[in-house]
């Protein structure tokens, strides 16, 4: 078993991994992506998960976002075990509590910037989504570009839109998978600064997967992983 207590004095954990094992079948072979991971992520903290490609970082994020379930062990988000939730419960959880930021932005190219930001609200059935979407765009400094299409933006601007979209429904947990992986250093740093500010000023818990030690340095705590196991947790 591998575990990390990132900050024993911090607030009660928002997200808990308890003895989590995740196995996949790949061309008939069983692959263990996570191997007995235990981890507490306190509310309002910025946690970076670092490690090489294939070490299990992304799998950890998918389990945290209830997009996948552990083969054994449990993942608890606000004390609620994700694998006990129904399909409806899981969708509700994703809609209300979790936001995602991806390495390749994953914006919908047919929608404008503001429409991209509105998507989570509209999927949740909210009719009056525009004001909140604009508010989030203002937060990331892109209100002026609201009517543009993604292909008219730079990489950094696209990632800011993605962050605005991830925050639009007011999630308590933001999952960022290599958010600076497709950006140059300066742009990457500005994105990291934005994430830092979101965590500090809005109290959003951030779990960021990265293979860059430089990026991880901005976090409150760093969890190092190798071959599906947590090697250590540091502050």
């Amino acid at each position: 078993m591998s575990s990390a207590q990132t900050d024993p004095d911090a607030a009660p954990p928002l997200l808990v991994f308890r003895d989590v094992v995740k196995e996949y079948r790949n061309e008939g072979e069983r692959v263990r992506a996570l191997d007995g991971v235990s981890l507490d992520v306190p509310a309002g903290r910025f946690l970076a998960v670092v490690g090489r490609s294939g070490c299990g970082k992304s799998t950890l994020l998918h389990l945290a976002g209830a997009l996948d379930f552990p083969s054994s062990g449990a993942v608890l988000l606000e004390n609620e075990s994700t694998h006990k939730l129904s399909e409806t419960g899981l969708t509700k959880l994703r809609r209300e509590k979790v936001g995602f930021v991806f390495q390749s932005f994953q914006l919908l190219h047919t929608l404008t910037v503001v429409e991209n930001v509105e998507v989570p609200l509209l999927l949740a059935g909210e009719i009056n989504a525009r004001p909140r979407a604009m508010e989030r765009l203002t937060l990331v400094g892109l209100a002026d570009l609201a009517q543009r299409r993604p292909h008219q933006l730079s990489g950094g601007q696209m990632q800011r839109v993605a962050i605005a979209r991830a925050l639009v429904h007011g999630p308590r947990l933001l999952l960022a998978d290599e958010p600076t992986g497709n950006l140059d250093t300066a742009t990457g740093n500005s994105i990291l600064a934005l994430l830092r500010a979101i965590c500090s000023e809005r109290g959003v818990t951030i779990l960021m997967a990265t293979h860059s030690a430089e990026a991880a340095a901005i976090a409150d705590a760093i969890v190092r992983m190798r071959d599906g196991r947590i090697l250590e947790g540091t502050q």
């Binding site: 919908l108 047919t110 429409e115 998507v119 509209l122």
Partner: protein
């Protein structure tokens, strides 16, 4: 060798990775091509078979002598006595109906003694001929094919004209290539008695010696023949019938290509998507030194391979479809043209070549634009994703202008006259309008989606917004899908409007054309070219039945006018109490043609006859009647929808002067005011006695007419259904390909909180929008095409004036069915999208 490597890497390998795309293209080619093969096979079998009826036991000759109302028998003797070594074979050519089974078969009367003395009739073996001679004086002796009797001595009741008589089978005809299907043979004398053609024969076949040349023999023979008698090369009647059927078959053949046109859109769509997907690979290969031509050829080779494979699949499929088609076609050919029996359906070398040529050509033509595009894209641009759709948007204006130009050309082509009796420019006009609509589609989709996305968002939330944006965003792909389905919808709409208008016109026409209370005809009637007669005394007996006010006789003859078949009919004047029933489209000023008809050699002609032979009111017609040529002046042209060959109407008494024969083909019976229809009908049946004459009430005959009409167009609807099937199947296939292409988008949506049901709704919404856009474009195009069909193609092909009519219910139903079918086509792709693992698809990126 390097070409093969390129073909494998660029074409075959991606194909194996995307079998769905390959199946979609094969489906489009195979089904479209199958429709073409089916119609070609069925057309040959149904329309070609009448040849066998007329030519049964005809043998090989050089000339044929015919005359309206029959060739006088003394001409046989006159020809035989000519000082040349001619073989002269007189024939009776009629039809008989087997009383028990109601099977209509050719009845051929031949000169048995002559046949015994000639080697030109290989139909009867030596023993059969000598046996025939023993029974030559027996009017009940018949020789039949194996399908009609088991053994010599069998008794076979036959219905000929309006009487039934039991004949004795004196011989079974050997299986022969000259007898296709069943037939009854009699000695010519017995046949003349049975058909009431004493003193006349239907045709005299003449075989001339090999030396001398055709023209010389023609002039020698012409010298001894009277003016009204026609001398032609053998098979002229068959050729004339073939010419008459040509328009019918030509239109049907064109119709069968609709599914292929729809298929072409889908092939284009599938290949365009495939080119867009393979741009990085093309770019890499181009960067490594492959020439543009090599890329172009690789994609064209792919299309040719698809065409070849699709065509091979189309052959058995077309053969299977032809089985159903031939049944429908032969009903039409029988009812409207000539009595015939479907011939055997067989895949010939010709049909294989047709399928291959059509399949490969359509596939390659559809692939030309995507292949060219693949070859033109520079390697660096090919690496960039998502730019092509943007460029297509930029070209919308250019496409719209081109669309306008094509539409104008279409309008001009619609004004042009027919070429060689075929509405070639009419079809070109239709094709130009289809191309115009296809070019206009991106603009329509763009504006509809731009204008509608706000409303769709309010109406259907996120699914509405995403569906509209996604369709508008991938304009090229969406437009091709919409254009393909719109073409199918337009064809269906236009044919629906044309058939609906035609049906309404015929219904109205029948209401005025059929004023009598009862119509009578012999039970042995078997086809449009058959005019069996009713014994003359029956008309007199019916006229004396209480409750009958008047009996109007009509006699029809099949004649040839300017090398084409036509019907010459003689009618008695209407009773004075009955208003004139014919509606004229042109008459001499202030003239009453029907009242003037009995006063001399006057005629009125039907619209199809006038159009086919460019006849106008006031012109003169020289009609071959018996042995003389008689001139009639045309008093008017009337609307007629019962006889495509064309109808010439003269007065009964006038025609009796030239063709004295009191036996009518039909009787129209008018009841006295207050007479009870049912009771009078029973009394009339009694008056008819043992003769096989059928009586139909006015309502029955109209219903029968509409049944024939509906049967005629059943094949049209079947072809439309195939087009719709190709289009909807193509939509399903294309949606699958879209789902695969957009899997990242669906993955992201799942990450952002979309439920499976929302993804399903999104796909179905997109399918529905495609259906809606296609219906709108298709309806607009369909209305334009229906105008071309009604006022240009139909008019030039058949010569009928059709009153325009909106078959609203039929159109609403058809649109509804297409719309529902499109949504259903989205079900499987939607299922695929829902089952995608969002983590996997996001990770692929």
């Amino acid at each position: 060798m390097s070409g093969l490597v390129l073909f494998y890497r660029l074409i075959l390998r991606p194909l194996f990775r995307q079998p769905g795309r390959a199946l979609l293209i094969l489906f489009a080619i195979a089904l479209g091509d199958a429709a073409v093969v089916a119609i070609a096979l069925a057309g040959n079998a149904a329309a070609g078979s009448f040849h066998s009826s007329i030519e049964t036991l005809a043998g090989k000759n050089d000339f044929e002598v015919t005359a309206a109302g029959g060739v006088p028998q003394d001409l046989v003797a006159r020809l035989s006595k000519l000082p040349y070594p001619l073989q002269v074979s007189p024939r009776i050519e009629d039809r008989a109906m087997v009383a028990d089974t109601r099977q209509s078969v050719p009845l051929i009367g031949i000169d048995m003694i002559g046949a015994a003395n000639t080697a030109n009739l290989p139909v009867l073996g030596a023993s059969e001929v000598s046996d025939a001679i023993r029974h030559i004086n027996d009017p009940d002796a018949i020789w039949v094919t194996r399908g009609l009797a088991q053994a010599i001595g069998d008794r076979l009741p036959l219905l000929i004209e309006d009487h039934t008589r039991t004949y004795t089978v004196r011989g079974i005809l050997p299986d022969s290539t000259q007898v296709s299907g069943d037939a009854v043979v009699m000695d010519i004398g017995a046949a003349q008695i049975a058909t009431g053609k004493q003193g006349r024969v239907d045709r005299i076949l003449i075989r001339t010696p090999a030396e001398g040349g055709f023209a010389a023999w023609e002039s020698r023979l012409r010298e001894v023949l009277p003016a009204g008698v026609m001398l032609n090369a053998q098979g002229a009647e068959t050729a004339a019938n073939r010419r008459m059927l040509a328009a019918f078959r030509w239109n049907l053949r064109i119709l069968s290509y609709i599914a292929l046109i729809v298929g072409a859109f889908l092939i284009y769509s599938a290949l365009s998507v495939s080119v867009v997907r393979r741009r990085p690979e093309i770019g890499t290969i181009r960067a490594l030194g492959t020439s543009r031509n090599a890329v172009l050829l690789a994609f064209l080779a792919e299309a040719a391979a698809f065409g070849m494979l699709g065509s091979l699949l189309a052959l058995p499929l077309g053969r299977a479809l032809a089985t159903g088609a031939v049944r429908m076609l032969s009903t039409t050919v029988n009812a409207l043209y000539v009595s015939s029996r479907p011939g055997p359906l067989s895949l010939t070398a010709g049909s294989v070549v047709l399928a291959l040529v059509v399949g490969v050509a359509v596939s390659c033509l559809s692939a030309l634009a995507p292949a060219r595009e693949a070859s033109l894209v520079p390697p660096t641009e090919a690496m960039a994703r998502g730019r092509r759709d943007y460029e297509v948007r930029v070209e919308r204006k250019r496409d719209a202008l081109a669309a306008l130009g094509l539409a104008l050309c279409g309008a001009v082509a619609a004004q042009a006259p027919e070429i060689g009796g075929k509405p070639i420019l009419g079809y070109l006009s239709a094709l130009l309008f289809v191309a115009s609509a296809a070019l206009l589609t991106p603009l329509v989709v763009h504006f509809a989606m731009e204008a509608g996305s706000g409303s769709l968002r309010r109406l259907a939330g996120m699914e509405g917004l995403l569906a509209s944006r996604s369709l508008g965003g991938s304009l090229r792909r969406t437009s091709v899908l919409v254009a393909a389905l719109a073409t199918a919808v337009a064809m269906m709409t236009s044919v629906g409007i044309m058939v609906g208008s035609f049906r309404e016109t015929v219904l109205t026409w029948m209401q005025t054309e059929l004023p009598a209370d009862l119509y009578l005809r012999p039970a042995s009637w078997a086809g449009g070219d058959q005019h069996p007669t009713i014994s003359p005394q029956i008309a007199d007996r019916i006229a004396r039945v209480p409750g009958v006010a008047a009996v109007r006789r009509m006699r029809a003859y099949d004649i040839q006018y300017q090398g084409l078949p036509a019907t010459l009919a003689a009618v008695q004047a209407n009773p004075p109490t009955v208003p004139e029933n014919l509606r004229f489209l042109s008459t001499a000023q202030d003239a009453d043609p029907m009242r003037q008809l009995p006063s001399g050699n006057f005629a009125v002609v039907s619209e199809p006859f006038a159009n086919k032979h460019h006849v106008k009111t006031g012109m003169s017609l020289a009609l071959p009647l018996g042995v003389q040529k008689v001139t009639f002046r045309v008093l008017g042209v009337f609307y007629d929808y019962g006889d495509e060959a064309g109808l010439i109407l003269v007065d009964w008494n006038i025609l009796q002067r030239y063709l004295p024969n009191p036996a009518p083909s039909n009787l129209a019976v008018y009841l006295a005011p207050g007479a009870n229809l049912a009771e009078t009908r029973v009394a009339i049946q009694k008056a008819i006695g043992n003769n096989n004459v059928l009586a139909f009430s006015n309502r029955e005959i109209r219903r029968q007419g509409m049944r024939v009409f509906d049967q005629t167009f059943a094949i049209t609807w079947a072809l439309e259904a195939i087009s719709i099937l190709v289009a909807v199947g193509g939509i399903a296939g294309s949606l699958v390909s879209i789902i695969i292409d957009r899997r990242r988008e669906f993955g992201v949506l799942r990450f952002l909180g979309a439920t499976g049901a929302q993804i399903r709704r999104l796909i179905l919404f997109e399918a529905g929008l495609i259906g809606l856009l296609a219906s709108a474009v298709g309806l607009g195009l369909g209305v334009v095409l229906s105008l071309v069909l009604v006022f240009v193609i139909n008019k030039q092909s058949f010569g009928w004036t059709i009153q325009f009519h909106w078959p609203v219910a039929v159109l609403a139903w058809s649109m509804g069915i297409v719309y529902v079918a499109t949504i259903l086509a989205g079900l499987y792709p939607a299922r695929l999208a829902v089952r995608m693992n969002p983590i996997e698809v996001i990770h692929e990126e």
